[in-house]
Symmetry: D2
Subunit: 178 residues, 4 copies
């Protein structure tokens, strides 16, 4: 952490502060909930079902910000509990190494990932879930798909911001891309 010139106190002038959120990448986590068999093979992928204000159906991964002074694995657990309920029993991996990073840019096309609101960089993990999932918050449902279904055009088209690509990367990492 030797980057003194960029991080000395006062690097943000008062007027700069107002655009602080716009000027820093926001740290996120993405979790791909999966069911595994007794040998660890991924058999299903869980996607959240949402209805937008426009009435459109969308499917999404578990995703959200990492807060100040929060460990990445605590953020993962918090978002998994928020989206899957308190008895989902997620098994966050022993290694903090994400299987990939997803760089969501406000400008489309810079990377496969896009978020019109902000520049977010997400650490992505495959998380086996052993318990009972009860979606909360704004999600209507959690639906389990086979790997074949998850990469089908129908499901892929219902995912936004590049999360369909991220899902395929997760399946490739798990040796289950078809």
């Amino acid at each position: 952490m030797t980057d003194m010139t960029e991080t000395t106190p006062g690097w943000l002038s008062p007027e700069d502060l107002e655009s602080a959120r716009a000027r820093m990448p926001i740290l996120y986590v993405d979790a791909v909930p999966v069911r595994v068999d007794d040998k660890g093979v991924v058999t299903r992928v869980g996607l959240l079902l949402r209805i937008g204000s426009d009435g459109l159906v969308s499917r999404a991964l578990v995703s959200g910000r990492v807060l100040h002074h929060e460990r990445v694995r605590d953020a993962l657990m918090r978002h998994l509990e928020k989206d899957l309920g308190p008895v989902a029993l997620p098994h966050v991996p022993a290694s903090p190494q994400p299987f990939t990073i997803a760089e969501y840019f406000p400008t489309p096309g810079v990377t496969p990932y896009h978020d019109p609101r902000q520049h977010a960089v997400s650490l992505a993990y495959v998380v086996p879930v052993a318990g009972d999932c009860r979606p909360r918050q704004d999600a209507l449902d959690l639906v389990w798909f086979t790997p074949e279904e998850a990469v089908s055009p129908g499901v892929q088209q219902e995912m936004t911001g590049g999360q369909g690509t991220l899902l395929k990367q997760a399946l490739a990492f798990a040796g289950r891309l078809v």
Copy 2:
């Protein structure tokens, strides 16, 4: 990117803005510059030599922030060029997957990494460097160490904030931890 409640416009009140920097983890990259032989085996690790305002010698990895609207690999290249000069010829890995993440907390002991100024989460990469390195900025020199030397108590004690541990993790990833 479904975390609407936390990221809707206006989540930062004016008074909140002043503490924005303190309230969000800052995204960093750490690069471990290495020399490799013609088979790709890591033979040397490069560490920057610095003299602090207190006169103390410290050794450091290439490290720095990711800027808004900057890709992680562009940030890596920028910091490598800043610290190693324009003809270092770094080979940033083809995969964006970091070998680990280093969570620098302002509170010591939460993780092995510590930064008193801020909560920073760093994506860490091993970067083979083929060219001529000419340290710039505040670094006095770049010194190449064998893996054995890099993990020796003498060198480890000159590294701060947990970067000695991160260096050992890089060597473990490269199959060169001794």
Copy 3:
């Protein structure tokens, strides 16, 4: 290496020896040759073009056995030089960790990978290649494809034994699956 009962001298009787090759998985390496830009982004994937004895065109990764007393990275270099010629300048990754393993089974359907001749387990690597490629041996040509072309049905159908899937996994690992 504590598996004494399976590996004590004499575990193979003379008659067993004849079927030794059939009874052990054979260790392979698969290399996905890629071109990268100056930031390390994969821009092209190289596939070998072959004409089978049946006149059919097939496209293949660089692939082959690991020999006794040969390091995995030496096997990678040997097969890369055999297939791409002596001035291809491959950059074998600094880490020995493969991006995945491909388990080629003689029985189709056990895994996505199939080899009718044998049970082979392959360690798979993405290898940036900087030099001039001159295919040798039984390959007619090496053709560079964009990631988009490489995953197109036309190219995928010309790949056999599951190597089309392995190629998609390599692109996913490199953040270039489309």
Copy 4:
């Protein structure tokens, strides 16, 4: 799998067959059993305790061969059950990607790993174990160590063939190297 010249039928003459085992690398798996907390943090590492024919104590990872027509994750489960008993409840990772490979050479010094009997290449995994461990076979006991204890000189000296190094690599991968 294009390596036709090396794998056509008949590549082993009868006299060659007798040395077949000596001439091929043997595929192994190494598993590092760990206890994790409810966030996935590794809190303990399990090592098997053995007494050699010379009366010397040694500590070992779960390790063994992959058999013909056996998937790598089936081999992992078989060796884990063999060494830890039937109710250990191991959670084999969802991804087949090993955290590293360990190349055990019969000649010391080629790599950090050594096996005087053979050239073995091992795929290494960190495996969280949730159940009750009851060592069987030739192991006297399974002892759980903290990461600090596991890398201490006392424990490291009781590990042979480079498994002490492999254990340190596993802890580095899990972000728990101290």
